[in-house]
């Protein structure tokens, strides 16, 4: 069955797909959106949206392991990665069960959501920009690759992304290493749509001892700089924020930020998708990962809801499998999808979605898989390669005074000091967010503390006091190390590994180079100095037997965890030999095929990738509109 002919066909309704659908339909283009997840999840009317979202929340409450994917339906026909499947790999052994076929030697430790709205349903919401040197790693540090665009090129698109997501933050506090001062880097008068999310009590207490302390690393001294973190969750609107919308300017052939000329305008925080009075402010639910109950945190359904539905058709439960290509013109002629009625049954019907332009926006790993399955866009042999994530090393300890974690959004402050510096020619850079949720990530606190107390024979008031002393002092620090691109860290496919609909399961080859291991060693020395200087009793344990991401370097053990930042599998570059897409996110090989998502990023930087990816997606939307109106 072939669909009508659309201007643009998009696969995937995460931020990448939803943003293109919204921007294009509002410019009057006819769009078809294919989405692998359930029909119920795309409900945008008040009752439907509310009921479906509350079913997610209820699933979360009832889940024994409250992992990122716990609120969302598990679909046999559109399976996804899950951190519960991340286990220690045995060399030479068969891959463990799970959607990702983990060939190792190390497990890829991040997951994604397959459902309307995509993975940002359970993102944390951190929205940092990349730093200038992140775009030119080769030139400055002789590492990795340069981007074909600079931080300056991306600036107007960053501003669009910050409006789309609704960023709360203080520009004046964004002081980064080796980066022009905020006024120069962000623009003289630029402010974020909303003021910063208040930093946690924990942040203030820890920063008292950490701000400006000196640490030594590789014989150099660094002054620690703790700053507030910009984030995509609703706070108090900033009266100085000028923008209201991003619109297609037909005459100039550009996307433009617009204000309301001459009118006084207050930025309106974007509420929940079910009513205008819920989610206007972050209420401190402290469950942003895996689900914000009030939708004060941005999710892509908010973007999708602002599409022009006169021009938008959505087909759900439709899993894009391959793309058809005209051998002569190299043009894409359709996206082949398998549509299931019941997600637990292997029955499906096949359709072909047809349009002038096609966009794959199904997440970095899925995009690569679809391209590989179609033999498409791969003249550079880069499809599936350079898979990256932030390798997150955690350190944790007990503070002397009570700092009261388990309150507020996951993280509100970060140490920016090691985001850039000459050490990048030797080892990876990192960002260190303070974590507001105690030791829940590494050791499943507070449940594990209850078990510990019981194992000590405690009960009654003694148990209660023990837990109170312990839970109110738990400090957790992240070291999110920038993984550099490596052609051998990659996604491949094989007929041996198929899902119930007969689509390929992604096969993952993954390891950590010395460049990464060295950064964990360096980060640990920084952590040790911070803990020692502040009387934080170190409780960090890296367990060689039970930790899936246990690695050793120079005889010392470290454990990395996944950050959820799946990046690099169809990278952008300078020419058709070094990359899959150009700076407009169009594939070099197929004139009417665009890719959207973090797969396009040549390197990762030390920022969480979605803001940058959203900026790139605006660039893609602009290029598509230009191409349609040629």
């Amino acid at each position: 069955m072939k669909t009508d002919h659309y201007d643009v066909v998009i696969a995937g309704s995460g931020i990448a797909g939803s943003l293109i659908a919204k921007t294009l339909t509002r410019a009057g283009k006819k769009v078809l959106l294919l989405e692998a997840g359930l029909q119920a999840g795309v409900a945008l009317d008040s009752d439907g949206a509310y009921n479906n979202y509350m079913s997610y929340l209820d699933r979360f409450y009832n889940a024994a392991a409250k992992v990122p994917n716990s609120p969302y339906p598990i679909l046999k026909d559109a399976p996804t990665s899950n951190v519960l499947d991340v286990v220690k790999l045995t060399p030479g052994g068969p891959p463990p069960p799970g959607y990702l076929v983990q060939m190792g030697p190390l497990p890829f430790a991040s997951d994604a959501v397959r459902g309307p709205g995509g993975t940002m349903l359970h993102w944390l919401g951190t929205t940092l920009r990349m730093l200038p040197n992140d775009f030119k790693m080769k030139t400055v540090y002789n590492q990795a690759v340069d981007w074909p665009i600079t931080a300056d090129d991306l600036r107007p698109y960053y501003e669009m992304a910050e409006l789309e997501i609704g960023v709360s933050g203080e520009v004046s506090e964004q002081t980064y290493p080796d980066t022009p001062a905020p006024k120069a880097y962000f623009g003289k008068d630029y402010v974020f749509p909303m003021h910063k999310i208040p930093q946690s009590y924990l942040d203030t207490e820890i920063a008292k001892g950490v701000q400006n302390m000196t640490v030594k690393l590789n014989k150099r001294q660094y002054k620690i700089n703790c700053i507030s973190t910009p984030q995509g969750r609703n706070s108090t609107p900033n009266a100085k924020y000028p923008y209201r919308d991003v619109i297609w300017n037909k005459a100039e052939k550009k996307l433009k930020l617009t204000g309301l000329l001459g009118e006084k305008y207050d930025y309106n925080p974007v509420p929940s998708i079910w009513d205008a009075y819920t989610g206007q402010r972050c209420e401190g639910n402290a469950s942003c990962v895996p689900i914000c109950p009030v939708q004060a945190k941005y999710n892509p359904l908010k973007t999708l809801k602002r599409s022009n539905f006169d021009h938008l058709t959505i087909i759900t439960q439709a899993v894009a499998s391959t793309i058809n290509i005209d051998e002569k013109t190299k043009e894409v002629t359709g996206i082949v999808y398998k549509r299931y009625n019941n997600p637990d049954s292997p029955e499906y019907t096949t359709g072909v979605a047809a349009g002038k332009i096609y966009v794959l926006a199904a997440n970095a790993i899925e995009n690569a898989k679809i391209l590989l399955a179609s033999g498409a866009a791969n003249s550079s042999d880069q499809v599936g390669r350079n898979l990256m994530d932030h390798m997150v090393m955690l350190t944790w300890g007990l503070t002397k005074e009570k700092i009261y974690p388990y309150r507020g959004p996951g993280s509100t402050t970060n140490i920016a000091t090691f985001r850039d510096g000459p050490f990048r020619s030797e080892h990876a850079a990192w960002i260190s967010p303070f974590d507001n949720w105690g030791w829940s990530w590494p050791v499943f606190s507070p449940g594990s503390d209850v078990s510990d107390g019981l194992a000590m024979g405690l009960f009654g008031k003694q148990l209660r006091d023990y837990l109170n002393e312990r839970l109110t002092r738990q400090f957790l620090l992240h070291f999110e190390c920038e993984q550099s691109p490596d052609p051998d860290n990659r996604v491949t496919i094989d007929h041996q590994y198929l899902d119930p609909l007969g689509n390929y399961k992604p096969i993952i080859h993954y390891y950590a180079t010395d460049y990464m291991l060295k950064s964990m060693e360096a980060a640990k020395t920084v952590s040790d100095q911070i803990f020692a200087a502040n009387g934080i009793e170190d409780h960090t344990v890296y367990n060689p037997v039970t930790d899936a991401g246990y690695v050793t370097y120079k005889g010392q053990g470290y454990t990395y965890r996944g950050a959820g930042h799946i990046v690099g599998t169809h990278r952008m570059g300078f020419n058709k030999h070094d990359s899959v897409v150009n700076h407009e996110q169009r594939t070099w090989d197929h004139p009417n095929l665009f890719l959207a998502g973090c797969g396009n990023m040549p390197t990762l930087g030390t920022s969480n990738p979605s803001l940058t990816m959203t900026a790139l997606t605006f660039k893609a939307a602009e290029a598509i509109l230009k191409q349609l109106e040629k």
Binding site: N62, P198, Y201, E283, G284, N285, P293, R407, L467
Partner: protein
């Protein structure tokens, strides 16, 4: 006996958790948890034999609780000793006392969350002077101050 047992359950729950009876009642979970412990309604996943064994174990547990409370009415430190020695070991009544503590603190019974309310009412969140993630949200900016 059933009523009596339910009273005993509340009594011993307070002693095991360190939360007083009013605090426990405030969670609204007393009846649900009593039924969880007493396996009411009966879990269809168990064989008749397992059910009978469990029923007996729970019966002995409450008899023991009853005697401990009676014998040590006047002496708080003896009461504590009796609980420590006769209820808390994992070998005593299949570790039922520890399971009851875990139930109150986390809302989980074995590997399962009893229900959504059980998760939300978990005592560990109060103990941390916080709130369960995803519920009882304290309001914008509250996290920037120490708890009330």
């Amino acid at each position: 006996m059933a009523n009596n047992r339910a009273d005993l359950f509340l009594e011993i729950s307070a002693l095991l958790t360190g939360f007083n009876k009013a605090e426990l009642q405030g969670t609204g979970m007393v009846a649900t948890y009593y039924n969880t412990v007493a396996n009411i309604p009966q879990d269809p996943n168990y064989s008749d034999q397992e059910l009978a064994a469990n029923e007996a174990n729970v019966g002995f547990f409450f008899e023991e609780v009853n005697s401990i409370l009676k014998e040590n009415k006047k002496d708080e430190s003896k009461l504590q000793q009796a609980i420590a020695g006769r209820l808390m070991p994992l070998s005593a009544y299949n570790g039922l006392a520890q399971s009851i503590i875990t139930l109150w603190y986390t809302g989980s019974w074995g590997a399962n969350v009893v229900n959504a309310q059980a998760y939300i009412q978990g005592l560990m969140w109060d103990t941390a002077e916080a709130h369960p993630p995803g519920a009882k949200q304290p309001g914008f900016g509250s996290w920037s101050f120490p708890p009330l």
